[in-house]
């Protein structure tokens, strides 16, 4: 049958060549460039707008400069920190913690989510507790974390995992709940069980909801990490500690500089999730454009 396809190809190519001449000319390459551009310019525009408003507010002396400094003060500050290497250090520490904490959360949240989604008793017993735990602010957990682990890395991890794992578990659970039953039935008929069931049916079917859960989990993890670093601050320079000390000395430009860094990381991570999400939707045929 394969030769058949090969035989058919040139014919198809010729037909398409005709169409190309009509309107598809050079479409693919130009397409990609246009696509990148059309997803970039709005971002740049929004950025320029935000900066403009910010500067305008400063020029209008909306608030005294020491509470609301302008870009002209914040960016040099940021640059200083980049230059003297302190930014690299804080960034590295924090990202390392974030990634480890998030990885643990994915495993823990994934396992809990899978268990709760599968076993009705577990769901009845602790389903709601998962969200309940999530509503306890990190600041409440910290005393316990400190109690358990002292002022150590583990204490921070504990808080991060407690923040992120529930979201991830919830994502998985809602993914399972909203999987079309016909696909589950198809899997049953095919005899998918155990590992195969997870690998070939449940995981891919719930992937969209799971990615959404991961995204939310990341936001929780990151917030918890900041709070953790801010409070369980033991020497290692980190973004959260930086945030705390900027605030402690009422250093507004420094605070905004740190916020910008945190925001940028948040945005970048979301872009990564967004890309994963788009790839998924393309595969599933959910892209309507």
């Amino acid at each position: 049958m394969a030769p058949d396809v090969a035989k058919a190809r040139p014919d198809l190519d010729r037909q398409l060549a005709g169409l190309d001449a009509l309107e598809l000319a050079g479409n693919t390459r130009r397409d990609r460039r246009t696509r990148v551009w059309s997803s970039t310019w709005p971002k740049l525009g929004a950025l320029a707008l935000a900066l403009g408003i910010w500067q305008a507010l400063v020029w209008a002396e909306w608030k005294p400069e020491y509470v609301f400094p302008g870009p002209g003060e914040v960016f040099p500050k940021l640059w200083d920190r980049v230059q003297d290497g302190s930014m690299a250090e804080t960034f590295a520490t924090t990202m390392q913690r974030a990634l480890i904490g998030f990885a643990i959360s994915v495993v823990v949240g994934g396992l809990i989510g899978a268990a709760v989604a599968q076993f009705r008793v577990l769901r009845a017993a602790i389903g709601s507790l998962i969200t309940g735990l999530q509503t306890l602010p990190s600041i409440v957990w910290l005393p316990f974390a400190v109690l358990l682990y002292g002022t150590t890395e583990q204490a921070i991890m504990f808080v991060v995992v407690l923040g992120a794992a529930p979201s991830i578990a919830n994502g998985l659970i809602s993914g399972v709940d909203y999987t079309p039953p016909i696909l589950l039935r198809a899997g049953k008929v095919m005899g998918l069980r155990g590992v195969n069931y997870y690998r070939h049916l449940l995981l891919p079917a719930t992937l969209p909801a799971f990615v959404t859960g991961l995204k939310q989990g990341w936001a929780f993890a990151w917030r918890s990490l900041m709070a953790g670093e801010l409070i369980v601050n033991f020497g290692r320079a980190s973004l959260g500690a930086q945030l705390g000390s900027d605030r402690d000395v009422n250093d507004a430009p420094g605070l905004i500089a740190t916020m910008i860094v945190i925001l940028c990381i948040g945005v970048l991570v979301d872009l990564a999730f967004g890309a994963a999400d788009r790839a998924l939707r393309n595969r599933w045929g959910l892209n309507t454009d």
Binding site: M1, A2, I182, R185, G191, A205, R283
Partner: protein
């Protein structure tokens, strides 16, 4: 495959599927709906049985019960140790898999070694006239093409590489509903060949009476809501039969009349 045939022949004494007083109600209280009412039916191993009945009479429900996806409200269903391959009325393909991925997964579940899967899947795709579409995803296919992929997947499930010696029960729910007559005629031949080669037991739901007569050893007629077995027709013609032969037409006409009476009696 010869082995499977022998196997099937050996156990031909017992029924491959035995339904005994099977009823199925959906919901409860005032909104309840009785879909099947005391259906009793035996299918012999290796037999090809076609189910006919008006829309909504409970054919799909019956297949779901036989494949143990649902449980009957009353009565018993015995399929022995047979493996079940079911082709749903909808394609029910996994959207995250390519066409070949969908079929290969079914082959994998039937113990086909990884190295053979790709070529076996290509073979099945050729059978349903979808060479060249292996790498597409379900949403890139037309309705009829999706149905054919689902058919290929169901056929993949009738493979048995584990040499378990267990018979296979193939349930098909209007497998050719979205196909043109020519493609359908070609697929009739293929299905018949595979059924014979693999010694399958087939329960086949269709709305096309000629198709039922073309394929079945026996045609079972269900009444409209709630579904009951109202009549069974043995199909005596030798195989292979031609769908536009006079014998097929004549029997089809008889059955159609009976069906028409049944439908009009219940108002559909």
């Amino acid at each position: 495959m010869t082995q499977a045939t022998t196997q099937a022949a050996q156990s031909r004494t017992a029924a491959a599927v035995r339904l005994d007083g099977v009823s199925k109600a959906f919901g409860s209280g005032a909104g309840a709906l009785l879909a099947l009412d005391k259906v009793s039916l035996d299918v012999a191993p290796g037999e090809f049985v076609c189910l006919l009945g008006a829309s909504g009479c409970g054919k799909s429900t019956l297949l779901n019960l036989v494949s143990a996806l649902d449980r009957p409200s009353a009565g018993t269903i015995d399929t022995g140790d047979a493996r079940v391959a079911l082709m749903f009325q909808e394609p029910a393909l996994f959207p995250w898999q390519t066409v070949t991925g969908n079929i290969e997964l079914a082959l994998k579940m039937r113990g086909v070694p990884r190295s053979e899967r790709r070529s076996r899947a290509a073979e099945l795709l050729g059978l349903v006239h979808l060479e060249g579409f292996a790498k597409k995803r379900p949403h890139q296919l037309s309705g009829g093409m999706r149905q054919r992929v689902a058919l290929a997947r169901a056929l993949a499930l009738t493979v048995d590489e584990t040499d378990s010696g267990r018979g296979t029960l193939l349930l098909m729910d209007e497998p050719f509903g979205a196909l043109d007559a020519m493609t359908r005629d070609l697929l009739h031949d293929e299905i018949e060949r595979i059924w014979r080669e693999r010694g399958l037991t087939v329960l086949f739901v269709t709305h096309n009476v000629r198709e039922a007569v073309r394929l079945g050893d026996r045609v079972v007629l269900l009444s409209s809501r709630p579904g009951r077995v109202v009549e069974e027709f043995e199909v005596p013609m030798p195989r292979p039969r031609r769908i536009d032969s006079t014998e097929v037409s004549t029997l089809a006409a008889t059955i159609t009349d009976r069906l028409r009476a049944e439908v009009s009696r219940h108002g559909s």
